[in-house]
């Protein structure tokens, strides 16, 4: 019953976000959102773009080419192509682009702690821009994207900005199609709805940026976390900065096409995110400068992955209750109520968000896939529970902790 109550609270949050997004005629965007659209190209601060790369020969040329074609003033742009101990042709690709474009600065890292936070930390002294934008190597920014991401920083309260991630390899596999739906729900509905309510967005560490002044004030990058983006989001909010979200700042990414790659990616997110929950949930709840609704929402956001074991427990409890005496009617009803409760309030809210996102994106074909997202849902629940088990075993009993693992790319190697 306790888990059912908690899941119901989560479901209420998801329904509230979906309904808020759906509300007809709703035009109340935050100032930073409007800034991004109307003022893009009118506020152009000095930008530094960092692209961390580790064995990215499949995708390195695509993102560097896309950045050279952006319509941002090259005199106000610096691109740091950060090669993190690559053993393939990544270094050669970076050097080739740097030789042709003076604003691309090659940074070849040969030592230090592996992983994106370590790369960002080591590249920080090279940054000349007042705003730092980040892209993972598999992303393909559009020509107008840098202007859209820079504009919200005209508001001095904005410490970081987040754009929308759109999977490009939709039809590569069933999983990539389902992940496309999940991403759409996460950005088109959840992030946008939170921004419309005036809440800070979740900085995702890519297709986004941070004001260098805010980064320094928050204490720089945390190299001991698996999700440096969530970690930074929490520290920025606690320091009094806002994180803006720009739904129109869309950028293509490559999502995992196989379940094994997805499991590794998800495990990293689960461990990093849950670790942030333990470190920041209470300080955020106690921070009276933030509106109460935003504090509660952030608490739910940080504890999101903990619903997976609750769901699993509910399913097991429902199953056991069905066979427990006395009488066939009472446990059957209890089990049914618990199961239906979990399905209706726990899962269905997420599926409604997917449907709403597909409707808003006019992706009718993808909307038809929603029933199959049960597959992804069950697989994700299992991966999340396994990752949480490893995390808490390491936290409480001192076993080995999950290490940073790069997401494998499936794009063919560029010639």
């Amino acid at each position: 019953m306790v888990s059912l109550a908690i899941l119901t609270l989560y479901a209420i949050r998801q329904y509230a976000l979906a309904l808020n997004r759906l509300r007809p005629g709703r035009r109340r965007y935050s100032a930073s959102q409007e800034n991004a659209i109307e003022l893009s190209g009118y506020y152009m601060p000095r930008l530094t773009v960092i692209v961390p790369m580790h064995n990215e020969e499949r995708v390195a040329a695509d993102i560097l080419r896309a950045l050279t074609e952006c319509d941002y003033d090259p005199d106000r742009l610096q691109v740091i192509a950060a090669n993190d101990r690559s053993s393939d042709r990544t270094a050669a690709i970076i050097d080739r682009f740097a030789a042709r474009h003076p604003f691309i600065l090659p940074f070849h890292r040969t030592s230090g702690k592996p992983g994106k936070p370590g790369v960002l930390n080591d590249a920080t002294p090279l940054i000349t821009g007042e705003i730092l934008l980040l892209f993972d190597a598999d992303y393909i920014p559009g020509r107008n994207l840098l202007k859209l991401l820079a504009a919200p920083f005209a508001d001095p309260a904005v410490g970081a900005v987040m754009g929308r991630v759109v999977p490009q390899n939709t039809g590569e596999s069933l999983l990539s199609s389902l992940l496309c739906l999940e991403r759409a729900a996460g950005y088109q509905v959840v992030q946008e709805s939170r921004a419309m309510m005036g809440f800070s967005a979740q900085f995702g560490g890519t297709v986004g940026g941070v004001r260098m002044e805010a980064l320094e004030a928050a204490g720089g990058w945390n190299i001991d976390t698996l999700t440096e983006d969530t970690d930074l989001t929490c520290r920025l909010i606690l320091k009094g900065w806002k994180v803006a979200y720009v739904n129109r700042a869309e950028c293509y990414e490559e999502v995992p096409a196989s379940w094994s790659v997805r499991s590794v990616q998800l495990s990293r997110w689960v461990v990093g995110h849950t670790d942030c929950f333990h470190r920041f949930a209470l300080p955020i709840l106690r921070d009276r400068r933030l509106p109460l609704a935003e504090r509660i929402d952030l608490f739910f956001l940080l504890s999101g992955y903990l619903t997976a074991p609750l769901l699993l427990l509910s399913w097991i409890a429902s199953f056991l209750l069905f066979f427990i005496e006395p009488g066939p009617l009472a446990p059957g009803l209890g089990a049914g109520a618990a199961f239906i409760g979990c399905q209706m309030f726990g899962n269905q809210a997420t599926f409604i968000e997917m449907g709403l996102a597909a409707h808003m994106d006019r992706a009718r074909r993808q909307a038809m896939l929603i029933p199959l997202s049960l597959l992804s849902f069950f697989a994700s629940t299992t991966s999340i529970c396994a990752a949480l088990l490893r995390y808490y075993r390491s936290r409480w009993f001192g076993g080995p902790a999950d290490a940073w693992a790069r997401t494998q790319r499936s794009r063919p190697v560029a010639p």
């Binding site: 100032a31 800034n35 893009s40 506020y43 508001d155 001095p156 900065w241 950028c251 992706a363 199959l372």
Partner: protein
């Protein structure tokens, strides 16, 4: 078993199977496809409609010389005019791309957009429902209503208002200012929080009692008022309303969650953004070309309404969620 129950269960099972069958069919159709929903080559252009029409206009849409629309007449459809355009009083137009100059008489109604390579004169009481862009200049008459205007110079005719007297003495407020400096301006030092190397947050309303020169970025969680003659060198923001007195100068950006008012003869060099209404008082100018260290163009953007006084000159864009109104 009751036949009705059996039929019902069969129906439910078929529906259940049908949705999975449809999902599986969609999966097969999506296989191998790349998402092409984002136009990665898109670049935002203020004069997009004009550029598009000039490129795509058919022979029946092109006027080779000058074109005049008689008073009270209505003209429908998009036109590309290779000369200049003169629309008489009370005329109704659709959308025009003009290579020369464009003059709208009194109370002209434009249902679409206007783009001109030359100077644009908008007569008193005219309305433009869409965008108005010019590569040269736009002069807006009194009581005009528009949605978005962009030009190297957007101006309204001056009136006979008396400029406010210039202020020379300002109290300095910076990151290094002491509690006494803040108290001297009737500001509460206890409400000051330093959020970064160049930014200060102020909890509550910020109302200094004398003109100030702000040398830092300022975020006010409340209303912000700068007395006449003040100068803000960094970006400023108010979660509530932001009011700049007469002859204030904004070197950075100004953002307000609520209304934003720029007093008479104020100067701004970058962007103004109001979550609700924005008012540019008489004689407000965006700084002279080349002065701004960051941008070529300036912009004033209102979430709801933008009111423009007499004698205003803005290099760049004016835009409003609902309507721009000239005084």
């Amino acid at each position: 078993m009751n036949i009705l129950v059996l039929l019902f269960m069969t129906g439910v099972a078929l529906l259940f199977l049908a949705q999975f069958a449809a999902a599986w069919r969609s999966t097969r159709k999506l296989q191998g496809k790349l998402d092409t929903g984002i136009d990665t080559g898109y670049i935002r252009m203020e004069d997009f409609f004009g550029v598009r029409l000039r490129a795509l206009a058919g022979a029946d849409q092109v006027v080779t010389g000058n074109w005049a629309c008689a008073p009270g007449l209505a003209s429908w459809g998009e036109r590309h005019v290779r000369g200049s355009v003169n629309a008489g009083d009370g005329a109704t137009l659709d959308s025009l791309a003009v290579d020369g100059s464009l003059t709208l008489g009194r109370s002209v109604t434009v249902l679409g957009w206007l783009d001109s390579h030359g100077a644009v004169q908008v007569g008193e009481g005219s309305r433009v429902a869409g965008r108005l862009t010019s590569a040269a200049s736009v002069t807006l008459g009194p009581r005009c209503r528009l949605k978005t205007v962009f030009a190297p110079l957007v101006s309204t005719p001056p009136d006979n208002h008396t400029p406010a007297p210039a202020v020379t003495a300002r109290a300095l407020l910076s990151l290094e200012s002491s509690a006494d400096d803040w108290h001297a301006l009737s500001l509460d030092w206890a409400r000051v929080v330093r959020t970064g190397a160049a930014t200060i947050a102020y909890q509550g309303d910020f109302r200094p009692t004398a003109p100030v020169e702000l040398l830092m970025k300022l975020v006010v969680h409340g209303h912000l008022y700068l007395p006449a003659g003040s100068l803000a060198k960094g970006d400023i923001r108010a979660s509530g309303s932001l009011t700049l007195g007469a002859r204030c100068e904004m070197a950075g950006n100004a953002t307000a969650g609520g209304d934003l008012t720029v007093g008479a003869n104020g100067i701004f060099h970058q962007t103004l953004h109001a979550g609700r209404d924005l008012e540019l008082g008489n004689g407000v100018q965006s700084g002279p070309a080349g002065v701004s260290p960051v941008n070529t163009w300036t912009a004033a953007c209102a979430g709801r309404r933008l009111r423009v006084g007499a004698g205003v000159g803005v290099r760049g864009k004016l835009t409003a969620g609902e309507m721009i109104e000239t005084g």
